[in-house]
Subunit: 241 residues, 2 copies
DNA sequence: CGGAAGATTGAGAGTTCTCAATGCCTGTGG
DNA sequence: CCACAGGCATTGAGAACTCTCAATCTTCCG
């Protein structure tokens, strides 16, 4: 049920040993309130002061902001094992939205339970760690948007999601499910859907990656990474492969 | 000496009362190892495993990454009161660089002292809070780069730095010192220096802001904010003005 | 005074966007 | 089982924004 989350906890930090059984049990018991969220529905909206912390169990969601002119910028993708809002507990209100991209299942964790979770040093440390990774991902997106062209941006995003999903057991060697439309891809990469389409065509033509019916195929991960200059070090993953 | 830092601590959080005297004294004593850093010198480099946490006391620095083609992307500006690397203590190594932009003074804080600081609930909470703000700023930069044109990007950055500097007492009503070249502005906004120049000209012609010899003047902050759709809520500042 | 870094401007090239049309796939209703 | 509607993907063509290259000007400093 919360297996992606467990995998993520284990991979976060230098000591890559399995979690103590009691930690494991606590995690599982704390994730017993799982609720479905339909695609395109908001999990949390700007201005909310949520009572629960939300953890992705299944499906993808995203952080996003809507601009005055109606355009949207996605600032992060959240996949199983990712927390939506550990941080916001401190703020008076959310300063951005989180919306489900596909039909998802989300664990609702009360503050009390969250505190109990944070009392375990191993878990607290792993959560702290993955918060830092989230921040590193934000920086890498800034680099992407600021200094790379459409081709590298889209390729880079594909590489990142592949690496992150592998880490929680949701990607095979060079294939994974990406439940996004080309428009959503554009909202994340700062491109128009039309240009995303042309970019995906180029990736396909150069046999670097294909995107068809929500499935990504990467013939050779090493070659794609090379082509778009993707270096996974910022994700601070175990194997770095 | 660490007055910007103190101001920032006070402003971070809902309770905007002055810091208890003992907290104040601790902060001051912990910031007694202040070292100069010349402009354009790195404070910390990618791959480092720093022994100290670094706190900006005077001057500006920036986080940045160099890409394979030699271009640079700045992912954050650090001004007095900002920590450079609270977070990295957990990671094995820095995944980006921090470089001084102007002649600066930086406090070196050992891990032991840092722990002592974090034992004070009020301070720990304020640091946690400002870490969250840093993250919100990263998201806002992503929105900036992804969905705004050059004019809004530069204007938005000016508004942000103005608000942040006001918060620590380093900006007047509509004026502050910004020790950047147009090239550095471009590295932060994802533009070329040439285009930054044209953009600044437009801001000047429309009487929204001028940038001359490292001084920014904003005739009317409200009008500028309106023109570039800047909403300071993501900074979670006290007055929001 | 001379040199170097940074700012400014012009002109042409390139990437990405906008607008618009067409094609494809899926689910629904007859 | 088929027709149709709606959402999404795909393609074309011209416009817009930003970049590149290159020259000139200004400021700062030894």
């Amino acid at each position: 049920m919360a297996s992606a989350f467990l995998r993520k906890l284990v991979s976060a930090g230098e000591s890559r040993n399995a979690l103590p059984a009691e930690d494991r049990d606590l995690v599982l018991s704390v994730c017993d309130d799982v609720r479905p969220c339909g695609a395109r529905r908001d999990i949390i909206s700007e201005g909310d002061r949520p009572d629960y912390v939300h953890l992705m169990i299944e499906g993808w969601s995203c952080r996003y902001k809507i601009l005055p002119d109606g355009s949207r910028q996605i600032t992060a993708f959240l996949v199983p094992g990712d927390f939506c809002d550990v941080h916001v507990t401190l703020f008076d209100q959310m300063d951005h939205n989180i919306g489900a991209l596909s039909d998802s299942r989300v664990a609702f964790i009360s503050r009390a339970r969250m505190s109990r979770l944070m009392e375990r040093p191993r878990i607290a440390r792993a959560l702290w760690w993955s918060g830092l990774v989230d921040e590193a991902v934000l920086r890498s997106w800034i680099v992407n948007l600021g200094r790379r062209d459409a081709f590298e941006r889209v390729g880079h995003l594909i590489c990142e999601m592949h690496a992150r999903l592998r880490n929680v057991g949701l990607a095979q060697d060079g294939a994974f499910t990406m439940p996004l439309t080309q428009e959503e891809l554009g909202d994340a990469t700062g491109l128009t859907p039309v240009h995303v389409n042309r970019t995906l065509r180029r990736l396909r033509e150069e046999q670097l990656a294909t995107f068809n019916r929500q499935r990504i195929f990467i013939p050779d991960v090493g070659i794609l990474r090379e082509a778009v200059s993707f270096d996974p070090n910022y994700l601070h993953l175990p194997s770095q492969v």
